[in-house]
């Protein structure tokens, strides 16, 4: 029993350590004044009020949501079919495909930004400084996560066998894909979509270097307000974090539902 206590204490300590910055930020966001005292000198929700009525914030939030959704949508539209085709019909290309898709994982935002700027700030196509280059960059940024999610889904449902079974029963390949494979990988796509969305939502480097103030996302907005007013900034941070938490919670629910479904199928 003593051993259990030690382990519990370890987890508790680390848990507190991880929770502290979030808690402190939250406290800051609801305090009236907190400059030289240990604890705030008054509590208020006025910062949140100010935040949600600030048109600049709403605009930034809108922009963040917008580019995240577009990048994600583009990714889903192209990746699902691509991963499916390569996994099932072009296995020889798979290694090469994997290398391309997992590369962004190893390329930090700064490096990707440099590469994109060098290519698109001059020459035939100039999209540097516009939304489009950010969307493109974001598309590449989430490639590894979308790839892994879709590939694992296809593996779990043994897509090859399903296709074979459907075709033997008379379905064309496209029919089989749409009616047999697609519905079964939707949960997997959902999970990796949420993951990708939260990654993009918290992304700063690419957006800042590629468009900066010209297209202010939530993170860029936060950065600019950081020096002005601490309370206000913490309200932004907490709002952002709450959104991420909601996304994580949704991911979790989907994830467990997926697992339970798999478990049921295994048992029967």
């Amino acid at each position: 029993m003593k051993k259990r206590m030690i382990h519990f204490l370890v987890i508790l300590m680390i848990g507190l350590y991880l929770l502290l910055p979030v808690a402190a930020t939250f406290l800051y966001s609801i305090s009236k004044m907190w400059s030289n005292t240990i604890l705030p000198s008054g509590y208020t929700f006025s910062w949140y009020q100010e935040l949600f009525t600030d048109p600049r914030f709403i605009a930034a939030l809108g922009r963040s949501l917008w580019i995240c959704i577009i990048s994600l949508g583009l990714s889903i539209l192209t990746m699902v079919v691509t991963v499916f085709v390569i996994t099932l019909y072009l296995p020889k290309l798979e290694r090469f495909f994997q290398a391309i898709v997992m590369l962004p994982y190893a390329i930090p935002g700064v490096v990707a930004a440099v590469a994109l700027i060098k290519t698109y700030s001059s020459g035939p196509i100039v999209i540097s400084g516009t939304v489009w280059i950010v969307i493109g960059a974001y598309y590449i940024h989430i490639l590894p996560y979308m790839y892994q999610g879709i590939r694992n889904s296809l593996r779990t449902i043994d897509a090859k066998r399903l296709m074979e079974a459907a075709e033997v029963l008379g379905a064309s390949k496209i029919n089989a894909f749409v009616h047999v494979v697609l519905p079964n990988i939707i949960p997997g796509i959902q999970v990796s979509s949420l993951l990708s969305f939260s990654i993009l939502f918290g992304e700063f480097v690419l957006a800042n270097m590629l468009v900066g103030g010209q297209y202010e996302t939530i993170q860029i907005y936060l950065m600019s307000r950081l020096q002005e007013n601490g309370h206000f900034s913490s309200a932004i941070v907490i709002t952002y974090f709450v959104i991420i938490l909601i996304l994580s919670w949704m991911m979790l629910k989907l994830g467990t539902r997926l697992q339970n479904k798999e478990r049921k199928e295994q048992v029967s």
Binding site: H7, G15, P21, T25, S198, G202, F204, M209, S248
Partner: protein
């Protein structure tokens, strides 16, 4: 028939191919070529690489990044190693709650994190004031905006990532090994020393390289703390490309390529290690 499938497949892959070429392949190639240009942009040279590696200003940036990454990863992985083991000792339901918690806190990085740490440990931070009140002088010598402060902040986002990566490897250690070892006379410590740690060692190395890459590529956190005054490789690259240094447009590409290579190296190391783990545990 096969021809038809091939044709259709290539057609289906087209949009993906276009996007990937446009936004990944082409830019990377362009950047690599760029890294070999001299400052005037009219000839190819290795000078940029030489500068990057020998010019004290830039090489210091790289060394700083390396050191911060190594330190924060070492500290982070040690904490994660112990913590994730403790997590495996908890009942199953509690385990998934804790892992979820870890997952969520790993999202708290970049600017929000830097900001939170300013609240806690900045000049008028919560703990700074608290310790001043209690008369503990140790903390007055700790400067969040210095080296050690940055490592402290980096450790914060390394720990959850480390926990998430190391936690599953413990399940690879079979209970029957422990039982077998204890029947043969080994104490708990002897088991971990001779069997447990050696078996998960490749995982540890793999995780370390991921943490290392994570820290090397970090930008937002340091930027939010003190803007461009930290000499880190990512900050240097951003300022070079952002136009701060007008007479060296291509040095940024060079440093970016160097950083990229380091990261790829770390990833490959992780791949190698994980392959060993999978073989060992078969």
């Amino acid at each position: 028939m096969k021809q038809k499938i091939r044709l259709f497949a290539i057609f289906a892959l087209l949009p993906f191919a276009v996007l990937v070429i446009a936004f990944e392949i082409l830019p990377l190639i362009r950047m690599i070529i760029d890294s070999f240009l001299n400052d005037e942009g009219n000839a190819y040279t290795l000078n940029q690489y030489i500068t990057a590696l020998s010019n004290p200003y830039y090489s210091k940036g790289m060394i700083n990044s390396l050191l911060i990454s190594i330190y924060s990863s070492l500290i982070g992985i040690s904490i994660a190693l112990v913590t994730s083991y403790s997590i495996t000792q908890m009942p199953k339901k509690v385990q998934s709650i804790i892992i979820t918690f870890s997952n969520m806190t790993s999202n708290f990085s970049g600017i929000p994190l830097a900001f939170a740490y300013i609240i806690l440990l900045g000049t008028s931070g919560l703990f700074t004031l608290l310790f001043k009140e209690l008369g503990w002088d140790i903390f007055s010598s700790f400067n969040l905006y210095s080296w050690s402060g940055l490592i402290a902040v980096y450790v914060y986002f390394q720990v959850p990532l480390g926990i998430l990566l190391l936690y599953p490897t413990y399940s690879g250690i079979q209970k029957s090994w422990r039982e077998s070892a204890s029947l043969l006379g080994a104490s708990s410590f002897q088991f971990w020393w001779h069997i447990g740690l050696p078996v998960i060692f490749p995982s540890i190395v793999g995780t370390f390289s991921i943490l290392f890459a994570n820290a090397m590529g970090a930008y937002a956190t340091a930027y939010a703390l003190v803007g461009g005054s930290y000499n880190l490789i990512t900050i240097r690259i951003a300022s070079l490309v952002g136009g701060d240094v007008i007479n060296r447009p291509h040095l940024g590409s060079t440093m970016a390529v160097i950083l990229g290579l380091m990261m790829i190296g770390a990833m490959l190391l992780n791949e190698r290690m994980m392959r060993r783990v999978r073989r060992d545990l078969k």
